[in-house]
């Protein structure tokens, strides 16, 4: 079962990364695309809780840091998505999440993730971007992530829910 879980998580992350890098740029707004990898981490947090989502967020972040065409200092997305997994897992309600709860979690996570990434860039001076530009990108990212939620989250939550039958049984 553990290997199945690992396989499921790998497939979900790979698909999300490729979608984000090669498909969505065709529909980008000012270069901002839906952060599908972040949505996968949030979905995992809603279904499986903070611990799993945190580890998944770390792995997803490292992938996002290393896969082409990334060129920022590695570890920045890892830190951002790790925090997203942790926070989303902690605030997620017990039991089956309702639609408003899911949307609120996504919006908060998207804001948190992009902000942490941007702030780490300010601290490491990699590259130095003006604050208004940061805010514009963060706002754009939240909107895109909310728009992509109905398409991505049901799939992700279905996948991670199915990979953990014991939890489904307790419902």
């Amino acid at each position: 079962m553990t290997s199945m879980r690992a396989l499921g998580a790998t497939v979900a992350l790979t698909a999300a990364l490729v979608l984000q890098v090669s498909v969505f740029p065709h529909f980008a707004w000012h270069g901002v695309v839906p952060n599908v990898v972040l949505l996968v981490v949030v979905g995992a947090a809603l279904v499986r809780g903070a611990q799993f989502a945190m580890v998944l967020g770390f792995i997803a972040g490292v992938l996002l840091d290393l896969a082409p065409p990334a060129d920022h200092i590695a570890g920045r997305w890892a830190l951002a998505l790790l925090l997203v997994g942790y926070v989303a897992g902690r605030v997620a309600p017990d039991g089956r999440p309702t639609l408003p709860a899911v949307l609120a979690t996504v919006a908060a996570s998207s804001f948190l993730g992009t902000s942490v990434f941007a702030l780490s860039g300010l601290v490491l001076r990699d590259p130095a971007v003006a604050i208004p530009d940061l805010l514009e990108v963060i706002a754009g990212a939240v909107v895109w992530d909310l728009l992509a939620t109905p398409l991505v989250l049901p799939l992700v939550m279905g996948l991670f829910g199915r990979l953990e039958p014991e939890r489904v049984a307790t419902r």
């Binding site: 969505f24 992938l63 590695a74 790790l82 941007a118 590259p127």
Partner: protein
């Protein structure tokens, strides 16, 4: 109902420390980063996947174009666009060329400037703005004869330079990235300067130009071309970059800053060429300087 699993503090600390050490490793000493081999490995795996996905998605993304015209019309448009781009480039560089002649650049320099070939490649991945860096992946790598610090351009002008390569892909730093600096010169007056990206890939992304001679005010609409680097790495000379749209004067230290609108549309980047030495070994057809195709 099982209580939500709260992660053990030890795990939280361990993962945060892992992130911190990754950043330290990568940001650490100048030159080659310790993370580079890992980047290359991940690139080798994801490169082909990105290339495959791009090949599938490109026709779908181009569906709106199909409604605009018939196949023959599309061909005609392509031909006209190519011709137009060629003419535009001639106009843009005419001042530069005239000056070069006037300065008697000589046959050596001309041969050096023109003796290069282009490896064609397509963009298969774009970095999101959320990462605040303007980079793209192209579908040609070390197998096509590419290596870091090569010039990338398209038929509109300068695109960027290659940062790193895997076997089948290469990562390109666009000139609009905030970390990118290009040596440029004003085509009409030959004044030298440095162009820095503003960090925006969208339609309104631009560059800042600071001239070495701070008393010179560049003309509006003046064309900026590359100045060229030693051994043509990372930038070859004479590639058009953009035109001056706005000039700001700083009264305090009497310096000028000009805003440059790049000729390349970075929001719709697709087919690019990588400048390689003429006669390079490659896994695909190479466009030689005289327009012929070398296999």
């Amino acid at each position: 109902m099982t209580p939500r699993k709260t992660p053990p503090p030890a795990l939280v600390v361990a993962l945060v420390l892992a992130c911190a050490s990754l950043m330290t490793l990568d940001a650490g000493t100048g030159g080659g980063s310790a993370v580079e081999p890992a980047r290359r490995m991940v690139g080798e795996v994801f490169g082909p996947i990105e290339a495959g996905t791009s090949a599938v998605v490109r026709p779908i993304a181009e569906i709106p174009d199909w409604f605009r015209g018939h196949d023959s019309m599309r061909d005609e448009i392509d031909d006209l666009e190519a011709e137009n781009a060629g003419l535009r480039e001639q106009v843009r560089t005419s001042g530069f060329d005239r000056n070069r002649l006037a300065e008697y650049d000589g046959l050596t320099a001309a041969a050096n400037d023109l003796g290069y070939a282009l490896v064609p490649a397509r963009v298969i991945g774009l970095g999101a703005s959320q990462s605040f860096s303007a980079t793209v992946t192209i579908d040609a790598g070390s197998a096509a004869g590419l290596h870091p610090d090569m010039t990338v351009l398209n038929n509109d002008g300068l695109v960027g330079r290659i940062l790193r390569v895997t076997r089948t892909t290469a990562t390109v730093l666009l000139i609009v990235d905030a970390d990118s600096t290009v040596g440029g010169r004003v085509g009409d007056t030959m004044d030298l300067g440095f162009l820095t990206g503003q960090g925006e890939t969208g339609a309104d992304g631009g560059l800042d130009l600071r001239l070495v001679d701070q008393s010179v005010v560049p003309d509006r609409d003046a064309t900026i071309v590359t100045w060229g680097s030693e051994n043509d790495a990372p930038y070859v000379a004479g590639v058009p970059i953009g035109r001056v749209t706005e000039v700001y004067s700083d009264l305090r230290d009497s310096s000028q800053r000009a805003e440059i609108e790049p000729f390349v549309d970075f929001a719709a980047l697709d087919l690019v060429g990588v400048v390689v030495p003429s006669g390079s070994e490659s896994d695909r057809a190479v466009i030689e300087a005289d327009g012929s195709l070398e296999r």
